[in-house]
Symmetry: D2
Subunit: 418 residues, 4 copies
């Protein structure tokens, strides 16, 4: 039996392409719609409002469609109360659990809207009551849910607040804005570097943290000195990465090579594999990267700079790792947990030269945190956006030169140090 529901959406619906994405999704999910009301913004800066009745073949299909439309910020006109259901089995949601977006979210419980803590996509919403009686709703990934947890089911009683990028930008405005359009290497790159530098300064001034996600190319391209300078100057608060970036950085610090590239002479020792496994072994002997620094074994490089400047890093392993280094989380679910724990106060995220850890970070970041992805490979940026990190802005460029220029912008005296 056909089910239907009325949803509404406010914002720059047309010039942002938002409405066309909503209508396309309705079609793609096999649904149907009619537009009940459309107040179109008359002038260029005005917001529009649309109210749409969406129809699906059954209640279950409608629920899914409604959840889907929430990823665009479309909410039910009459959201009703949230339905809660008890989890019966550890690590398994009820069939009709509400699957989250990464947007700011509210849940209607006992006639009141409760804000969801730490928005994250593809999670369930667990409702608890504090000792003082306060109702709390938080996102919980499927692997963390426990029997007895009460989770929101179905689409009713949930409302999201869309993150909207300003459609118009006065020239000369201080506000940070990347090109809306497309991933591209055909953009004035030097300008983009300056914009990112400006954004990082603003974030730091606001007392927020800058999160970096990095791959080994940071070291291969000879950009480690630039990265060290950025750590020292306070523009790297947290680093997410894998075994590779830390190993190559440490290998370069211990042996002057990274996977066999002799970095000072620019000549290549290809696949100098025993260097990297020896570097790992050495740090394993010290117990941890921090211990290696304290014991005077590790005296330079990015990891050294993070340790000596008291910055956080979370390294999560992958199946292709050698070793790994003692600091690496070998359990990926534990690794995700550690990454989530390091997100508080992050105001800007920058991802350089890593597909795996960028997508992983994109998965757990709220949509409200601005995100820049820098890679020489356009596919990495596209992948990130495809996975739902719509706020991601992509720059296709060379990591080595990019980081060097960023350090030139942000670190006084860096030019002289080169």
């Amino acid at each position: 039996m056909q089910s239907h529901e009325q949803v509404e959406l406010t914002g720059h619906l047309m010039d942002s392409g938002l409405l066309s994405r909503v209508l396309n999704d309705i079609r793609d999910y096999g649904g149907d719609y009619s537009i009940d009301r459309f107040d179109v913004g008359r002038d260029i800066g005005d917001e529009s409002y649309v109210r749409i009745t969406v129809r699906a073949e059954d209640h279950e299909g409608l629920d899914r469609l409604l959840m889907r439309l929430q990823t665009h910020g479309a909410n039910q006109v009459h959201p009703g109360e949230a339905h809660l259901r008890e989890v019966e089995q550890d690590g398994v949601f009820p069939d009709d659990f509400y699957s989250t977006t990464n947007l700011e979210t509210r849940v209607r419980l006992d006639g009141r809207w409760v804000a969801v803590e730490q928005p994250e996509m593809d999670c369930g919403l667990v409702v608890t009551r504090d000792d003082d009686g306060r109702v709390r709703v938080r996102t919980v990934p499927v692997s963390e849910v426990r029997a007895g947890n009460r989770v929101v089911c179905g689409a009713s009683g949930v409302k999201v607040l869309p993150v909207e990028r300003p459609p118009i930008q006065a020239k000369g405005d201080k506000v940070f804005e990347f090109m809306q359009s497309e991933v591209s290497s055909e953009k004035p790159q030097a300008l983009l570097v300056r914009q990112i530098a400006e954004q990082m300064r603003a974030v730091r001034e606001a007392g927020q943290k800058v999160l970096w996600v990095g791959g080994p190319a940071v070291v291969h391209t000879g950009a480690a000195p630039a990265m060290v300078a950025l750590v020292e100057a306070g523009y790297v608060d947290v680093l997410f990465g894998g075994n590779a970036i830390a190993t190559h950085d440490i290998e370069a610090a211990l042996f002057g090579t990274s996977l066999g590239v002799d970095l000072s002479a620019g000549r290549g020792v290809e696949h100098g594999h025993e260097h990297h496994i020896r570097a790992i072994n050495k740090i394993r002997g010290c117990g941890s990267i921090r211990s290696a620094v304290e014991q005077g074994v590790l005296t330079g490089g990015v990891m050294h700079a993070l340790v000596t400047h008291g910055k956080d890093f979370v390294l999560v392993g992958s199946v292709r790792d050698d070793g790994p280094l003692p600091d690496v989380h070998t359990d990926v679910i534990e690794g995700q947990r550690a990454m989530r724990a390091a997100l508080s106060d992050v105001g800007f995220a920058i991802m350089v030269a890593t597909m795996l850890h960028s997508v992983a970070t994109g998965n757990i970041l709220p949509a409200s945190i601005p995100l820049v992805c820098v890679d020489i490979n356009p596919a990495t940026v596209t992948k990130l956006a495809d996975r739902g990190s719509a706020q991601a802005r992509g720059i296709v460029t060379d990591i080595g030169l990019f980081l060097e220029q960023l350090a030139l912008e942000l670190v006084p005296g860096f030019a002289g140090r080169r």
Copy 2:
């Protein structure tokens, strides 16, 4: 103080480029050499023999260089006896441990050559004595070594047997041969498909196993039916993969979509994210993929075919995973262990559309197992070869059409089924 040692190398040294790689490595490691003897094969099929004195600045540098040259099959003329040293700390090798190649290896102990079990690169060599007094040498990754283990240290007493590809190939020979040269999409693709089909038949007739390593594009490109046909026809003995290939396969089986691509109509539901998390949740509720098949929940697709035909699969997770499926190893070191355990009797390995799991598999495969890597992205194949899997042959092509054509070659009646 300068150290030196004499090494020797036999084979098609010049037309294979082997000698030039050896000499380059000596230079790149900062060493020096003089050629003491060179018996050059006079005619086109003849082998050559070279004896070289290599010199390095100190004993440690020489040891590393000698290990490096072994990756090309160059052994010491006077290898001497292996030196053993006891491991002092769990998970840490002695500083000068012998770092393995993936070649067949012998260790000289008590005046006798002992064959190393299950060659694998970047490992240490642990020597044990069986209850019956038999000396055994096996490869052990650094994370698995335990205090008290005795491991081979330094380069002496170790000999490798190079895998050489035949430099000349009589036309019409049954022997399988890929182009020696380069990764390329500019090769007659249909011919390559036929060569791989032939190889798979030969491996099966020899009673050996075919190992597949697959990424989610197997499903995205609509090739799951071809893959299922290959499983049913007995050409898939083991599958290595991650959470993604299994999830998208199961999602397609349960909902007819894969990451939102409606596979029968060829129309895209982009990012249909709740489908995949629901598919994962459903299987988690069943307890395992096998249980989901037994309970009649999962009734089609590649994973279903593997289960119903009694084939093995090893799924190892990564930090970007949602869920994951209950069968996925979330600890990557455990995952590596499970992959190693599934390698016995493998006579041929084929990797399709996955960088992460291909490199992981390349890391643990002996060089003696032929290896084909198929991907639309040339970088994947190059990466694999760069990591030391020199036996890897690359084909840059479309996975969807490749698997369809492979099934047409190998599975009678597949044409009619399409």
Copy 3:
């Protein structure tokens, strides 16, 4: 002084994203707008209508903006009469000439709408009067315009008819439809091949021509036999290409190699450069490709098949050419002329493995001709769409396997021939 004009647009404005593109363009051109009327289609299949007042800083800027909006099918509500101006200098338009889109276009002259002959983008519109007094308007590229020609200037008096892709597609419909969304290799490839085959059959049944644009990879990937089969079966009416595809095809026919790839054995002779220059020299000696066929010098391959089946081909040279073959237009403007002359009755265009000639063909094709671009490199397809060929549908796949599968679909008995 600010200028303004009212434009209108009808169609599936929202679910096609058309309106958002129009509004974005107004902003990007520095203009301003207000929406005067918006009749939104209530139900999913309904068309919408919008009337917008656009403003720009001066008359010239407004004119350009109006021309720009016409590329989306937005016309002035009160288009007025076209202004004509006489060309003063060969090969130079008046400053304010109307720059064409590739859409079907009408020009208002003497109170009547006159249809433009052979729409092509980036041209001027030349107005002439036939001997019988009939007014004609045709597109003329800047290099072809002559002093004294009368061309349309400014944006008034010009109307375009948008090509709209149907937003909804009943399943099972015979109508050809590619995925609307994106260039992607992650699509069910076998299905796409079948859709193209169906389209080609339909075009042939309708008495229209199939235009192919091909690069040398057609030969390198071993797909020439498939291509020959398609020519013989009547699915290749015209071929556009460069010196390379013809040379490699002829080299393969004369010497069994293509740029050194021995195609029957699949083994590579890299850079067998003298073969290709000899092949060119041989055909130059014959006078033309046709003569080479008639003299019995050229007895196989794609070019031979085109000649013997009476099909057209237009080869246009480039600065990197060796030779070139005698049939190659060395003057690119003459080459463009020859390509334009071969477009009549073309009902479908397919571009395989060539960036240069695909973009060149996209430049001169009317938007009304469906266009498929097949390449292993996503950038080629993206480039084509970026240049304005919005009707282009992209398939990222392997040319060799793609053409083999297409021949299997279209040519009875091709399976047996392989």
Copy 4:
């Protein structure tokens, strides 16, 4: 009947991989060999000498094989005298013409070795006698040969002088050396920029010219100011390019946009197509780029800088061009002629962001001119090397940042100008 000939080769045969390439080519051409003598360099810096008898199935096959081996610097031990044959038909060589390499070449005529003027690959060798009786040999492309010309036929009487890259490089040496190995983005990029800057200074000090080959991305990436600074500082003597780089540069100068990218604000006007056709039209009206500068129409950008600093440029068109600009050679053979005429005194060539014109330039450059190819796409560099420009060194990086850094190295005060 089998034919055979003895060839010899001197140099760093093994560590450069040269010998293995020679032996592979013999096999790939279906030939056979035996090694008659091999004097191997004993120490690391020593040269080796090899003498090989090569055999082929017939005289013609042997001739081709001998020509092929000359591309590696292998000459016949007994080269004999050159055979000359008269050309019978304009634009057609005799069947067995000697096809040139791009190496320095000598031809044996009347018992004396005559040096070939302006080495270029894939040409014939035309022998003439000056009025003063002096015998001259020059390379002539097939399209330029005329009936009556006497050209060298077969492989005898021709000797080449290989260009060898030094296999060993003392650290700190002033000599310019790029990594021998591979095209890669994983290299210390900042170091590479400094090496190129050093090379350019050395070339200028030696009174030689720096040739640039550039694509439109020079403008798109916002690097035009850096390029202008390099022109002004005297590091750009000649520019080869197409219609696109000049058009986008001029468009940016006239309208502040390049293909619709607003370069100062970094915001994109996609496909602002009428701007570029208007820019072309404007310059066509002026008659030439130089006239546009003289008339005060064109007042900035790269082309303006070239004109005002008296530097040469050669623009050669392609089939995808709009317009083109009046300076563009529309006939590609004429364009090649103009490019050849501009090569004298060139001591270094750098190719940035263009496949088409890079390959075209590689085709006509002698192997003795060092060549660097910079592109964000690895395929461009690989293609260049595959076409025979073995001296090409590739850098995979971002053009925008690369040119900015190069200007920082070479142009005093550039940092302040940004």
